[in-house]
């Protein structure tokens, strides 16, 4: 028995085990990369299976989590409180201007056609959790296929595009945020000519715009909205963000820009799923 145990842990055997596991991992990676359907089904099943378990544990530990965050971020909260007090004072002084500003905003929205939900059917959903991995740019919402949510449907919050549905179970869905490095959205400049792409950077506040024609009049402050069009994954005219900096391109073939996201992805509580499907 002692000999067999020793043999079973020999370096040669452990290398063989490692090689088999590495090979299996690479095979799974390749299959998932190519969109192998059973893997998606397995993920949806896992999402459905752990939803009640995770919710139960989450509800038990949520108060502890809140206390933990409060204790950890005391100085941040104090700073935020000071900033909010200052903000209240500013807002009070601006109150008299609010009616005019509201009228102006309504006109601007009308001109820019930013009533983005339009006639589309929508599903309101609550954000239950952020992604499990530390570099996940996803959120889990409390609605699934039973409520009419399907893979690929666009998700918006009050200010604009948030992401799209990347996994669905009967009562839960996972939304991949536009800030995910794998995310690409076709966009156009609002109010003037110019088409391009925005990509996630992993930063929940900033996107990178690229592939704008070199002759596009891309400028700081420009608003980017989804371009829509044939085979687009998103309907047209969903606000995406505002150009914060136009970046130089060495070759001068295209224009790139840094884009501040319209929606605030940190601390999302409610989102709206647009029941829109791309044309086949």
């Amino acid at each position: 028995v002692a000999l067999s145990r020793r043999t079973s842990r020999s370096p040669g055997r452990s290398r063989l085990t490692l090689a088999l596991l590495v090979l299996t991992s690479v095979t799974l990676l390749t299959l998932d990369y190519r969109g192998f359907a059973p893997i998606e089904n397995a993920r949806s099943s896992v999402l459905g299976f752990f939803a009640p378990v995770g919710d139960a544990a989450g509800s038990v530990f949520e108060p502890v989590g809140d206390a933990w965050r409060g204790a950890g971020g005391y100085s941040e909260l104090a700073d935020e409180n000071d900033q909010l007090r200052q903000r209240v004072q500013d807002l009070e002084s601006q109150l008299t201007e609010s009616e005019a500003a509201t009228r102006e905003l309504a006109q601007l929205q009308e001109q820019l056609d930013l009533d983005f939900a339009g006639d589309l059917s929508t599903v309101k959903a609550r954000v239950l959790a952020t992604g499990v991995g530390n570099f996940d740019q996803t959120v889990e919402i409390d609605k699934g296929s039973d409520q009419g949510i399907e893979l690929g449907m666009p998700v918006v919050a009050g200010a604009g595009l948030v992401g799209s549905v990347s996994r669905v179970s009967s009562s839960r869905s996972v939304v991949t945020l536009v800030s995910d490095p794998s995310s690409q959205v076709g966009v156009r400049l609002s109010g003037k000519a110019g088409l391009g792409l925005v990509e996630g950077t992993g930063d929940p506040r900033v996107l990178r715009a690229r592939a704008f024609d070199a002759v596009s009049d891309l400028a700081e402050g420009d608003i980017l909205v989804t371009a829509g069009g044939e085979r687009s994954a998103f309907p047209p005219d969903l606000p995406v963000g505002t150009v914060s900096e136009v970046l130089a391109d060495d070759l001068g073939l295209e224009q790139q820009a840094s884009v501040d996201l319209a929606s605030e992805l940190d601390g999302l509580v409610y989102v709206t799923v647009l029941q829109w499907r791309p044309a086949p």
């Binding site: 055997r13 085990t17 596991l21 299996t24 991992s25 893997i39 397995a42 544990a57 989450g58 499990v132």
Partner: protein, 163 residues
Amino acid sequence: MALVLVTTAALQRGVANQLRIADVAVDLFLVVAVAGGLASGPDRGAIGGFVGGLVMDLLSASSLLGLTALAWCLVGWAVGRWHAGVTRSSRWVPVGVGAVAGAAAIPLWVGLAFVVGRVTGLPEGFWPAVAVSSVSTAVLVLPVLRVMRWVWQEPIGVPSSLR
């Protein structure tokens, strides 16, 4: 082992995600991989890391299936391989190994994610993730080590090289 994995998955989703440190969630499956390597050597360290990473990949929407499995499998194997050469053990060895493995695991994952095109550079929150992973793995490895030894019926307190 299945019970350990299901419990870990529930704790990961329900607890570790809630109790974030510097916006970083502790990766309990990484701790399982490291403890597996320490408890039973490279074979079981690699298997524990692979299976745990696979569950993590299934729970995560944006990771490719097999990415975390590969990374944690390599970590579990390396820890087991290193620990197999240790003839004297003390309470602090697992803690030190946990700290180093926890810190090394994040760059390894990011490196593999870069190779398969999941990240394009150092992701936001990389350094806090390295720090939290190192500290949390060091802190949690001892209790998880006891669980892993119980699961695999290994004697407690004896280095794997001497069994």
